[in-house]
Symmetry: C2
């Protein structure tokens, strides 16, 4: 096991009406004026936004708004938010939404007190030392941003999608998680979220670090719970307990407990990010459902051991032959993704153009270096093979 530090000072309020605590929590933090960041549409129609505002107002906390944040969020909205935040002199941000909204709020949070370009943090030029605090009301269990110190933003010119990782500077001060808010998520979006959280666990599971049984087992436990509850949620979207299990799994998947003491992989995320950066109509979770089985088949050929362990412990695959186990694991994973309505090949992604693999590979390694991933570090030839396997 590698040395590590672990620090997760986010306060979680979980359950029915969790969002009604926003005002109290913001007051506890000493905030007096906040920026509410949200997407629009459902948060407005459902009355959620009004409830959040009422909760803040009841504690005497004023607000400004930044709305219309879209999936695969872009830098232009972050710049806009930074300008508004400076002009209005806010103390903090409250993200009401899913990962795109939270990640935009985090981009603004680190950008406001920084004199340079906030993008410096995302492309690795600078380390975040100061940031405005962020609170969250989660509506989509998927990205895990409600419990992580991470954020992913796409640069509009050049369509570069980069992720920023901080130990604690960008971890939300509090996150309100009400499973009822997810009852009305469309099935495809629910499934994309399920895939995203599963892959957050798998990116940590597939590691070259040996003898990390405790985190292996935590990861396997979460994955088994997600797969089990995914079937319940897909067949009964109003099942409170199943929605609750999925929601809390999404937070645990990405708050760091599955990564303690081990090198993490993240190749599949990087490989997928190039697709949803170039084709923003692709949902990140759907892109992952396409890439991960291809990645698994590729790495399982030369290093089958951990893939076979994954298959045996998650899917109960009972062959003692590691290579056979790899093939059956990939099949089981694809079957699961199909069963919950996800694509598992690029051809199913709804990209009308012919996909330009050469361009994807070139941008991937420009953005992320000559080799990507840790379980097996992948060269441009390797990642090209993975994109091709995913066709």
């Amino acid at each position: 096991m590698n040395n590590f530090t672990f620090y997760t000072p986010t306060r979680y309020i979980f359950g029915r009406e969790a969002e009604s605590h926003v005002g109290r929590l913001a007051k506890l933090e000493g905030w007096r004026k906040v920026m509410i960041v949200y997407g629009g549409g459902s948060a407005v129609r459902s009355g959620l936004l009004d409830r959040v505002k009422a909760s803040l107002e009841s504690e005497g906390i004023s607000h400004v708004e930044l709305s219309g944040i879209r999936p695969n969020p872009t830098d232009d909205r972050v710049y806009e938010g930074i300008t508004v935040a400076r002009e209005t002199n806010i103390d903090a941000l409250i993200a009401v939404g899913g990962g795109s909204v939270i990640d935009t709020a985090k981009g603004i949070a680190c950008g406001v007190p920084y004199e340079g370009d906030f993008w410096d943090f995302y492309c690795g030029k600078k380390v975040v030392e100061k940031a405005l605090p962020v609170g969250v009301v989660l509506t989509i269990p998927a990205a895990g941003s409600e419990g992580s110190g991470n954020s992913v933003i796409t640069r509009k010119d050049g369509l570069i999608k980069l992720s920023l990782r901080t130990e604690s500077a960008l971890r939300p001060k509090f996150s309100c998680l009400n499973p009822e808010l997810t009852f009305t998520l469309p099935p495809f979006q629910t499934a994309c979220g399920i895939c995203d959280m599963m892959v957050h666990i798998m990116e940590r599971y597939f590691t070259p670090t040996e003898n990390v049984e405790v985190t292996d087992r935590l990861a396997e436990g979460l994955l088994k719970a997600i797969i089990d509850q995914a079937y319940v949620v897909m067949s009964n979207p109003m099942d409170y307990d199943a929605r609750a299990n999925i929601m809390w799994s999404g937070t645990m998947a990405h708050n760091g407990i599955c990564g303690c003491g081990r090198q993490e992989d993240w190749a599949s995320h990087f490989i997928e990010h190039e697709i949803s950066a170039l084709y923003p109509q692709v949902a990140h979770g759907a892109g992952l459902a396409v890439i991960v089985p291809a990645w698994m088949r590729f790495v399982g050929t030369s290093k089958p051991s951990k893939v076979a362990q994954f298959g045996r412990r998650i899917f109960g695959i009972d062959t003692s032959d590691d290579r056979q186990a790899v093939l059956r694991t990939v099949d089981m994973l694809k079957t699961f993704f199909h069963n919950i309505g996800l694509p598992t090949s690029i051809s199913e992604l709804g990209i009308d153009d012919h996909i330009d693999i050469e361009l994807l590979v070139r941008k991937l390694h420009q953005n992320k270096g000559e080799k990507i991933g840790a379980y097996i570090p992948l060269s441009p030839l390797d990642t090209k093979a993975i994109y091709e396997l995913a066709l």
Copy 2:
């Protein structure tokens, strides 16, 4: 799933030489004078105490000491610590040791700023609102106090052992976890610690709350990792990775992740506490190894479902008959405890006197109420039966 809040703002520094960070961490917290609380013996002989002092001194942090804390720690040392802390005007406490040392430090921490008797918090008369901050250098993975907001202290007059639970007031600000510090733990103490952490998980696992798959699976994952690594540690006490897996499991077992959204049980702990309060020579972990199988056999008779699930998922028991599964689960658990050198009956506990079950039952329900536990609330008749099953 029940509504819950979860807040674990402890900073963990895990790995080789973790204790060398104490000075830096204390300075980060702004502490200038601390009380080092420790047991004596091994922490002194191994040079650990000197290393901790040197780390503090290198950051200009001065200290006073409270030493000689013993297992099953008592209120007299807490009172003494409170007096010294007030006289010397310390900012914080640093516990160097296992659960007994940490719990004593926590008792002092909440007692210093409180005008009344610190015992008010332990017997439930008052809620902790203010406490001195606590830092930890852990030497015994067992109690989980390095990551919990809890503390257990025994009142010397009357031998009443009570536990205090806070959401975050008594969670350590930081905990330094170096697995190498546990290489020299005697096998019996290692085994007692393993049992204690397993039961911390089981007290949360056995719940009347339905549909809590995600926490069930996290709990099962931790338990499987502990059982697996326990055999490695017992046969090779210097195996760094196995010691590391056990140490981190002990923290995860009791930091609350296995209890989110579910009613917890804690009957076995309460039943055991009466034994180690009355017979302080009994190690808490050994007492639990005796009580838990008896408790499990008792509750499994009238409510076998969760015990059977436990046996199937942890030990791979393959019968579909729940009652058969209960019996085999109890056998498997006792066999595991025996294999790592623990007693599984009161007769093996080394209590020379005839054990006074009537007295234990009377004190248990005086201290903890007419009914104890949640999986099945237990009456005095029930707890008497459990003590008898454990004979």
